[in-house]
């Protein structure tokens, strides 16, 4: 004989499915647990009846598939618009990628004719003169360098003021 009362949840489960807990011994002598079990069994019937009555009394609206269809249509239209926009963007990108190198290449070639590349070791300036001819508006500066004459500048002390005594 099992003298320990089962919990309420155990009884609630037992009322619905006898296999969960074998309580035949206990229920055989315990009126309290039998009453709780009867409560749950009664409650199951009431819950079923109450829910069915509530569902039956629910004001079911007229089945109108139009709203669903229009939402489906809208979403399909939206989807196709999105796809169209995506395709247009992709096509534009491809066009840009194809056209850009040829356009840019022409510019680069055109620009490279006028550029001067500077390279090598700086050479000392050996002569500089300004040339302003009558016809030129802007005087030109000519700088010529002798690449062979690499002169190392010697240290020149800064000028000192003359002695006051002298």
């Amino acid at each position: 004989m099992n003298g320990k009362h089962p919990g309420e949840l155990q009884l609630a489960r037992l009322s619905d499915e006898a296999a969960v807990w074998n309580a035949a011994d206990h229920l055989g002598w315990c009126a309290r647990c039998r009453r709780i079990l009867a409560d749950f069994q009664w409650l199951e019937g009431e819950v079923t009846a109450s829910l069915e009555a509530e569902a039956t009394a629910a004001p079911v609206p007229r089945a109108d598939c139009g709203a669903v269809s229009s939402r489906l249509g809208r979403s399909a239209g939206h989807l196709s618009r999105n796809r169209l926009a995506f395709a247009a963007t992709a096509a534009l990108l491809v066009c840009v990628m194809i056209a850009a190198p040829s356009l840019l290449g022409r510019r680069v070639r055109a620009g490279s004719l006028g550029t001067v590349s500077a390279s090598g070791v700086p050479t000392p300036v050996v002569a500089a003169s300004t040339d302003s001819r009558a016809g030129d508006r802007v005087p030109r500066i000519r700088v010529s360098a002798d690449p062979g004459a690499m002169v190392t500048l010697s240290f020149v002390p800064p000028p000192t003021p003359p002695d006051a005594d002298a």
Binding site: L9, W42, L43, T48, L51, A55, A58, V68
Partner: protein
Amino acid sequence: MMAEGFDVSAAIARAREGHEAAQRRIYDAFHAAAYRLAYLLLSDEMDAEEVVQDAFVYAFRNLDQYDPDRGAFWTWLRVILVSRCRNKRRGKRLPRVSLQILNLAGAAPAKAKPATDPGLALDRFETRREVHEALQEVSAGARDALVLRYYEGLAYAEVAGIPGCSEDAARSRVAHGKSQLRQLLAARDDASAAQGRVVRPAEAG
């Protein structure tokens, strides 16, 4: 439980191809059942209608995901519907059901025997009303489990499959729901004891 008299699988096959008429037939066949279930879970007409529409839009858009070998269409739609109901209810306090509905619920019990004695009929009506009100106060998860178990008549394995929990967890939810209901009704009994009204037959016998 519904959709009798027409070939659901044929309609689904045609709906997959985008036939609007087939979609309409499916909608007409399952709409009422879907609405009733949503109404029981949400206790709100507008919300139920919105959720049913959402569920059908989702179902029609994802008909390719429905596998007839895994279950009936209603089983699949019910999972979508219950999930939508949960999302709808999340963060929203449930409103109370109108008195008109309560009266209708009490006036048209589905399974109860018709009472000839007016006193018994009144007792039954009061009992049904109290159970109905107590059901509104049960926690959302427990109510869902009770609705699926006792209104939809699902086995525990099926109840468990809808929220994706274990079978034991589904059993616990139903048991908790019943326990909550019993406690709520006991509190109401205590409150009405002063009026000398016996509510539950289990206590009388």
